[in-house]
Amino acid sequence: MSLKGFIIRRTIYIVPVMLGITLMNFTLINVSPGDPVIVRLGLIHCDHDDCYNAAYNGEAIEMGLLDRDYYTIPWFKRYVSFVNDLLHFDLGKSWYYTQAGEGIPIAKIISDRAIYTVVLNVLAFFFSLLLATAIGVVSATRQNSFWDRSLTIAMLLGYSMPLFWLAKLLMLLSFQLFNFTGVANKDAFKTPLFLNPNFYKYLILPTLALTLGGLVFMARLVRSQLLEILRQDYITTAKAKGLDNRAVIYKHAFRNGLLPIVTIIGNSLPGLLAGSVMIESVFGWPGLGTVFLEGALFRDYPMMMATNTIFPLLFLVARLLTDITYVFIDPRIRY
């Protein structure tokens, strides 16, 4: 079977999985106790029911619940229209993020904010992969040396450090050294984005924190994988051929080590994404993570539904890419 066929098949397979996930989330939202309107109402003082009802209705109208007959249509029918909207790239309107008394379309919020998350994650992923490779190779080739031991211990300490706390410590350090906390306020990012020096200024610390977070995870992985592979017979063959250590490691060991590393990193992408949510929130970086966390704190159901659709989708696409990468690394895999 061709690679193209495989890609098409896997892409189509995403559809039922996504339907399953959205169905699960939608069901959870609808069976959960509590009324989101009341949460939004907060503590209002009403002497009699009419006042309360008026306030409740006003809030419900503002949230767009009455428009969609939230209270009259059974939830599974609403799910159908949710899927229908989803297919038109309509994710509904936010309850929390409002403008002129009306919810902002979530699709717009996400398309505005996605660039922040993407830049942060891509940079951090790139840096951590690079550094992790370097550290892993140093550790694995000089097993039990001073460098290996200290790097291993450092990686273990970093691995045990909660990521959000690592971010906080970075903040503290930067505050002590440069009097700069790295916490962005909302006005920091006025357009145009990529010409804005603030964008880069506030990017530094989140990137650093997220890089460290990914680094400690990947470096341990690279080290153990390389150690495993350096034990293999074909490494001995390569040495017996007269290759020097560099060629043995970078040509023979590395290409083989890549495979399990790609798998594990591909499978741990949700974890890395969760890390990005934490980091964004700590530094007030206005990406998807912050949007999601704020939305969750205020029970912004459409927003939660949307993020909980987007994140799995990203993950499934990433896993598809992982599988495609396999083909280029390992000749044994044919589709």
Partner: protein, 357 residues
């Protein structure tokens, strides 16, 4: 030691190993894999290195090439003299010029000893490019040539295949092609046919025999199979627990083995015309090399064990007749004195019943 082998003119000696000693420093303890290995390999001969698992055959091979995995392994002592120069004293880069070029090696399991992610052509031409000043294209052409030489059909197509697309026997042929690619003077074959089926094994052994004649190449054939040794070798060295215990011409060793272990080994295998009851047993088990028996490591299993001598004094390698040496107290002066003292008349150098019969 060297004088033991004066039976042949010394200029014919290709490789000489003296007092080689390799230990592995593991967490469980020090594995004394090779205690003292002395042997010589002559030009265009096939030397068999035979012994059971854990006797140190493979480690000897890796030590010759200087690729004992370090850590945990370490060559502690000894000389490996190849063409008059001690390989252990060579610099890393000089040693690399010899590896794969003048001394090549093939391994037991062709399944795992080829890198799965490169084509076989890549892997063969890698060695050619490394040791000869040729372009990539020439190297590939040479790989195709050498592949058809070792009997891989339609080599010009198969050269771009990956190892997993080959069968076990073909993979071993690829390994041999890789080893032969630079016309080595010495080929170390570490159990080249053990993981193969009998009919395939016969093919591979025949190929090795033919190429060694064609390339005028010496082979160290490592195996635990006495049958393979008998079929293939000119001389044979028997190893036990890190020592060479007997070395000599194949006819002599198979006809009249002197060392009790060699005798046991030959008695324990079914010989062509043996009956059921002829199988002989070496009692005990192979020792743990972390904590091996003292002095002669065979003494707890030996039928000729001399109390007070064998476990205290390590016997020297004694030359019984030209080109045939044994490391056993039955033939040393100490042993003879021990026997004389006790009026013990041990029969020396007799042929075991099963072999004679």
């Amino acid at each position: 030691m060297k004088s033991d082998f004066m039976s042949r003119p010394s200029e014919e000696v290709l490789l000489e190993i003296n007092r080689l000693k390799t230990y592995f420093f593991t967490e469980e303890g020090v594995v004394k894999a090779i205690e003292s290995v002395d042997l010589e390999v002559y030009k265009s001969e096939t030397l068999g290195l035979v012994g059971e698992s854990g006797s140190g055959k493979s480690v000897t091979a890796l030590s010759i090439l200087g690729i004992v995995p370090d850590p945990p392994g370490k060559i502690l002592d000894g000389e490996v003299i190849f063409h008059g120069q001690d390989l252990r004293k060579l610099s890393d880069s000089d040693m690399r010029k010899i590896r794969g070029n003048q001394i090549a090696m093939i391994f037991q399991d062709p399944m795992t000893s080829l890198n799965p992610v490169f084509t076989v052509g890549d892997q063969i031409s890698e060695a050619i490019i490394l040791h000869q000043k040729v372009t990539k294209k020439e190297a590939k052409e040479k790989s195709i040539k050498i592949m058809s030489l070792v009997g891989i059909p339609s080599a010009d197509e198969r050269v771009d295949n990956y190892p997993f697309e080959f069968s076990g026997g073909m993979r071993q042929r690829v390994m041999i092609a890789m080893a032969l690619s630079c016309n080595p003077e010495l080929l170390i074959a570490d159990e080249p046919s053990t993981s193969l089926d009998v009919t395939i094994q016969a093919q591979i052994l025949e190929l090795l025999k033919a190429t060694s004649e064609e390339f005028d190449m010496s082979i160290i054939l490592i195996t635990h199979d006495m049958g393979v040794i008998a079929e293939m070798c000119d001389r044979v060295a028997v190893m036990y627990a890190g020592f060479i215990c007997e070395i000599g011409d194949i006819m002599i060793i198979f006809k009249s083995p002197y060392h009790p272990y060699t005798r046991g080994l030959l008695g324990a295998i079914p010989r062509p015309d043996a009956a059921r009851d002829d199988l002989q047993i070496i009692r005990g088990a192979i020792p743990n090399l972390i904590n091996p028996p003292s002095a002669c490591r065979f003494h707890p299993r030996c039928d000729y064990y001399m109390l007070g001598l064998c476990e205290n004094i390590l016997p020297e390698l004694v030359e019984i007749e030209p080109g045939h040496s044994v490391r056993c107290h039955l033939y040393t002066d100490e042993g003879k004195a021990w026997m004389a003292e006790r009026g013990d008349k041990r029969v020396i150098g007799t042929i075991p019943k099963s072999i004679a019969g």
